[in-house]
């Protein structure tokens, strides 16, 4: 089982290793834009809870970026492999458990999310942000990557075209990346919207990351909620792997 997880992970690692330079470069673009636009440009004139806006949004940017990268590293390749390249069959024919495949894929997606987060943290320091990064921060980050890698697994198994996959991005991920406490505290939004936002996993990630980065207590409840999301998505993923055989 462990060996099979490693095999699935190893394949993705091979592919990533070959493109690591391009991967890192392309991952720098959107965080730099966010940092410039919101941190330097807009942020100079805004004060949030006595801190600088840059310090406020860096955890938000990390949260949304690790979400996007983890999701897209699993989602679209897996969707293509199931529908077009049919490489998923190679795993379905092999004597390995569905759970090994799910876990291996989710881990490899999370790894990509983490690599890109490291890049942003480095960039953020260059831009002059102050953030306290400790093991709680890393734990939250890992959990966030796992949440969205496993969510992507489920989406890739459910969506029946590449276009649907893109729509999932537009209708689910994009709104989340703006609303889930990434750029502002959603306290002034209508109550209903606030409640919906409270349920979404990214909100918990940004709250937790921000609390820890500003030197506060780690919100354990948020971490537990994220863990629950991971377990649910992985469970559904394994079930879908069985169901794909109709």
């Amino acid at each position: 089982m462990l060996y099979d997880i490693w095999t699935v992970f190893w394949r993705d690692w091979l592919v990533l290793k070959r493109r690591i330079g391009r991967f890192i470069l392309s991952r720098m673009v959107s965080p730099v834009l966010y940092l410039v636009a919101f941190g330097w440009g807009l942020g100079r004139s805004i004060q949030v809870n006595q801190g600088s806006y840059l310090d406020f949004i860096v955890p938000g940017i990390i949260a949304l970026n690790s979400m996007n990268i983890s999701f897209n590293s699993v989602g679209s390749p897996l969707n293509m492999s199931r529908l077009y390249h049919k490489t998923l069959e190679e795993y379905l024919i092999a004597p390995i458990a569905s759970s090994s495949f799910v876990i291996g894929k989710v881990l490899s997606g999370a790894l990509r999310g983490l690599i890109s987060s490291v890049i942003i943290i480095a960039l953020a320091y260059l831009f002059g942000a102050h953030a306290l990064i400790n093991s709680w921060f890393l734990l939250t980050l890992v959990l966030n990557c796992l949440v969205f890698a496993s969510m992507a697994f489920v989406a890739a198994m459910v969506m029946n075209s590449h276009e649907d996959m893109a729509n999932f991005n537009t209708y689910i991920l994009l709104p989340m990346s703006f609303l889930c406490a990434t750029f502002f505290v959603p306290d002034h939004l209508p109550a209903l919207l606030r409640w919906i936002i409270k349920i979404l996993p990214l909100t918990h990630a940004s709250y937790a990351l921000r609390a820890i980065a500003l030197g506060g207590e780690a919100p354990v409840l948020s971490l537990i909620i994220m863990l629950a999301y991971i377990l649910t998505f992985c469970g559904v993923g394994i079930w879908l792997m069985e169901k794909v055989r109709e």
Binding site: R11, L14, T87, E89, E90, I93, P95
Partner: protein
């Protein structure tokens, strides 16, 4: 080795395979023939655990498919009809992935990969990207992959489509040699002469149903050992005869150019799968 009892597969309302029963012995090369959409691929997908049957019982290598999937997956090798190689990897990496998925020991894996790449004449391209391969090269690589973990049963779904004649014949030789070592082979093909050449027995399917199952020779004899073929305004026509003399008498009555020859499997196939024939 393979035993199928009253197996059916439905996709929604459409019945792809309807009550198929057959037995394939160890060391046999068995051909599955049939027109497009007959259900050949569906049968192979079910036998290779990629799809679950709607009804029926499947026993492979003494294990019932419903309970012992893991064992079956370990002893089968599969070449699917469509390309399903990982185009982000090189041929070597594709094979290594397969070896790892089948829990092969690193030394054995390395040696087998080297041997097989040489066998399918891809050893000089081992580190190119698969994406840049031609169709025939991809198919050869898929064949190498299916054999890598030394399966007891090989499923080949139209394995020789797009291969050049030399490679096709080499593959036939390989299949025969493996058969002599005890490998069981189930293959589908649209090249009837391939089935005639290789298979001890063939089954002909049409619209999901088994319509004939026998040795190629027996199937040819079924309608008559000789066939007269001619063309008129409506198209090509054939008529079977058991006796050569009768056949040549008949041929003499026709005004157009005719051919008189021994029946081959293709004639039997066309006859069985219901092309309009005078008679």
């Amino acid at each position: 080795m393979i035993q199928i009892e009253k197996f059916s597969k439905k996709f929604g309302e459409r019945i792809a395979v309807d009550g198929l029963s057959l037995k394939i012995a160890k060391g046999e090369i068995f051909g599955l023939l049939g027109p497009n959409g007959a259900g050949k691929t569906t049968t192979i997908r079910v036998l290779t655990m990629l799809t679950r049957p709607t009804a029926g019982k499947i026993v492979i290598d003494g294990c019932e498919a419903a309970h012992n999937e893991g064992h079956i997956k370990a002893v089968i090798g599969v070449v699917p009809q469509h390309f399903n190689l990982d185009i982000d990897l090189t041929p070597w990496e594709n094979l290594e992935l397969h070896g790892r998925l089948h829990h092969m020991l690193p030394e054995v894996r390395k040696q087998r990969i080297g041997e097989l790449l040489k066998y399918v004449e891809l050893d000089d391209r081992a580190n190119d990207m698969v994406q840049k391969f031609s169709g025939g090269m991809k198919r050869r690589l898929m064949i190498a992959r299916a054999l890598l973990h030394q399966p007891k049963i090989l499923f080949l779904d139209e394995p020789t489509v797009g291969l050049d004649p030399q490679v096709r014949r080499r593959l036939w030789d390989l299949i025969r040699r493996l058969k002599n070592e005890g490998l069981t082979v189930l293959l589908t093909t649209h090249y009837i002469e391939e089935a005639e050449n290789l298979c001890q027995r063939v089954a002909i399917m049409e619209k999901g149903k088994l319509i004939a199952m026998d040795s190629p020779i027996a199937l040819c004899q079924r309608f008559g050992a000789y066939v007269v073929e001619w063309a008129d305004e409506e198209g090509t026509k054939t008529k079977f005869f058991t006796d050569r003399g009768e056949a040549s008498n008949f041929a003499a009555t026709l005004m157009t150019t005719t051919t008189l020859r021994q029946t081959n499997l293709e004639d039997a196939f066309v006859e069985l799968t219901g092309r309009k024939v005078v008679g």
